[in-house]
Amino acid sequence: MRRMRLLTMGALLALLAAAGCGGGSSNSSSATPSSKIDKTPVTIVLWDMWSGREAQPFKDALKRFQVKYPWITIKEEVQPNGNTDTFDPNLVNAINGGNPPDVAMPFGPDYVGQYCAGGLWEDLTPHMKADGLSINDFAPAAITYTNVGGKQCALPSLTDAYGFYYNKDMFAKAGISGPPKTMDELMADAKKLTVRNPDGTIKVAGFVPLDNWEQLGPGDLANAWGAKWFDSSGKPQFGEDPGWEAALRWQKQLIDWYGYDNITKFYAANTNNEFNPSNAFENGKVAMMFDGEWRTAFINDDKHPPLNYGTAPFPSASDHPEMYGPARVGGTIVGIPKGATHPDQAWLLVKFLASDTTYLVQMANTVNNVPTTPASQSSPDLKLPPQFTTFLHVWANPKSGFAPPTTPSGNGYANHLDNLDGEWQAGKISDADLHAELVKLDQQVANELAQGSGP
């Protein structure tokens, strides 16, 4: 008891000593408040991926930062944004090689497990405390993809949120009054709204249930049943939680109704158009879909036949009404890599990109992402279509979170689930074997993570 008190005293003294030292590099227990940060001119390096028509709006936003902090020059290194993620591996290389940027801004949090738990990014807590900022200031879901292993190493900067899109005209024509709220209703509506060609192929699909159709994944379907990925001790739940099996069976039922070959051909014909104006939903080829908030902007800007659409939360299972509302969220994060030359000034930029209302509003208007702070959400300058409100609610919902859940070894383990779903969809796994395969999946994922964490 006495020993503990001595230790606490010692820690307190250390804290006071560190605080007394004033400006300079942050140690693990405290940091300089923003107002007191050193004002000698410095250049900080930022890695991001804003290119093409998004390059200039972002540069304009950085100019505003420059005006606010004139002694800080930002050297922006725009990383290539390709088919696959090369930003994060290059960043890890740079950190391990001793020449990291001061601020990193990847478009997705897939590596946040390694960054936070592995210590590759600085823990931002001291900086946040010194400036009175908390992760809960953003939304309950923010912590699910910025904090791993108890380390808050990243902050969100605009985000994606996912929900349900439906074609109101098609609904009216088929006599359906409103968007489906349960998965049973979704299946029934999908069948009603499907139009087939004379030769049996699909002309208009009610709802495409295939894995990787646009943004849909098996996790999103299973979310309707509130299925958990892991239990509290980190054990995979694919075989234990009945939601997974229910979701996969629901999916197969609809696929079989279409005919696997038919729906695959439809998928093949339209999958290239997810991100261009020939998109299937925008052109009336699909009646309902699961998609992200940016689609509202595309619908506004692209040229397509008139589309009368609505958005709503994605349906939930009839015995899980509490899952009507929350969905997958997550997106761009910002943080300070370990070994950054100017971490204090880097923090100023991180804070700006995460919480500066004007920045968030301007970029939200440009790229149509969800603004992540309450202040930016209620800003009168926000120019987002009315259908966008659904996504603001999804972001604010306390049950929403990033999926697949990040672990200290990343979230690559989800590939195994996609593999299983691929085989299940194609009929390579029989009805009777599904449960056994899900239990095997538990083992595979557990092995993958056990190999990762190690002794």
């Binding site: 991926m49 960043l91 090689g97 595309f298």
Partner: protein
């Protein structure tokens, strides 16, 4: 007789035209996609409605092509010089000099091609970032140096190729120099290099193209200095956070291929003429 020769020529050309059409078709396809609007790209209708010729200009507007072009020429040119200068003597040692253990060491040379780069790329990066920097004080990361410098120390693919060609040179020709009292350097300079000119030009061409197309090397070493980036990386993606410009991607790919195609077209004369002369000599 003349008629027969004419028909034969027509037959040859028809087959060649047919095969060429097959080879050219995907490139023609890339071209049509490159001049389509984003609405139409990759949708299934091949003929552009409308023809968006400005896509090529847009590529130049969005990407500083000239600067990256210069970087790429620098990389490709210097590394080609390095490879040719270093690989010719090495290949000579493996083909025209007989020494014990030659096959074993040659296997060692080939072995450097056999280990997937995914596992050597990171230790190599750390070497350039830390050890080499500490020993020499030179900054390597963020420059083209880690890509160019090793090419001056041999490349297994080129060594192998040159070795194959050097081995076809008749012994009698080199023996002639020997009789006159010349050493290996003389043989190399006066017999082997002139006779193997087409192979050397081929090696130069392949290395130039390899460096031109090299994507992962520049991607990794120039991440921290995008100003020094090469064209292969700069033209690789026309994506935003939520959209993809397939038409610009294809336009950029064509712009990227063009200089090399021109170089090949011009270089092949040198290359082929060299071979034909050798063939006639026997």
């Amino acid at each position: 007789m003349r008629r027969r020769r004419f028909l034969l020529a027509v037959a040859n050309h028809s087959v060649l035209i047919g095969v060429s059409a097959l080879f050219a078709f995907p490139v023609v396809y890339m071209f049509f996609t490159a001049v389509q609007s984003n609405q139409q790209a990759l949708t299934g209708s091949i003929w552009p409605h409308p023809f968006v010729w400005s896509n090529f200009k847009t590529v130049f507007d969005e990407v500083n092509v000239w600067r990256y072009l210069w970087n790429t020429f620098l990389y490709a040119g210097l590394s080609t010089v390095g490879v040719v200068c270093s690989c010719v003597p090495v290949a000579y040692a493996f083909s025209r000099i007989d020494w014990r253990g030659r096959n074993v060491v040659f296997l060692l040379v080939l072995s450097t091609l056999m280990l997937p780069t995914q596992v050597t790329s990171i230790p190599l990066y750390i070497l350039w970032a830390k050890q080499f920097h500490d020993w020499t004080g030179i900054q390597f990361i963020g420059t083209l140096r880690p890509l160019i410098i090793p090419s001056f120390f041999g490349d297994a693919f080129s060594i192998f190729l040159l070795r194959q060609f050097f081995m076809t040179i008749p012994k009698e020709l080199t023996d002639a120099i020997r009789v006159d009292g010349g050493g290996h350097l003389q043989i190399l300079w006066r017999v082997v290099i002139p006779l193997a000119k087409p192979a050397i030009v081929a090696v130069a061409l392949f290395n130039f193209i390899y460096a031109w197309n090299d994507f992962y090397g520049p991607l990794v070493y120039l991440a921290s200095n995008q100003d020094a980036q090469t064209l292969s990386v700069a033209l690789s993606s026309f994506r935003g956070i939520h959209h993809v410009d397939w038409n610009l991607t294809m336009a950029a790919a064509l712009i990227f291929m063009l200089p090399v195609i021109v170089i090949f077209f011009l270089a092949q004369r040198v290359f082929i003429e060299g071979i034909t002369l050798t063939g006639v000599k026997g």
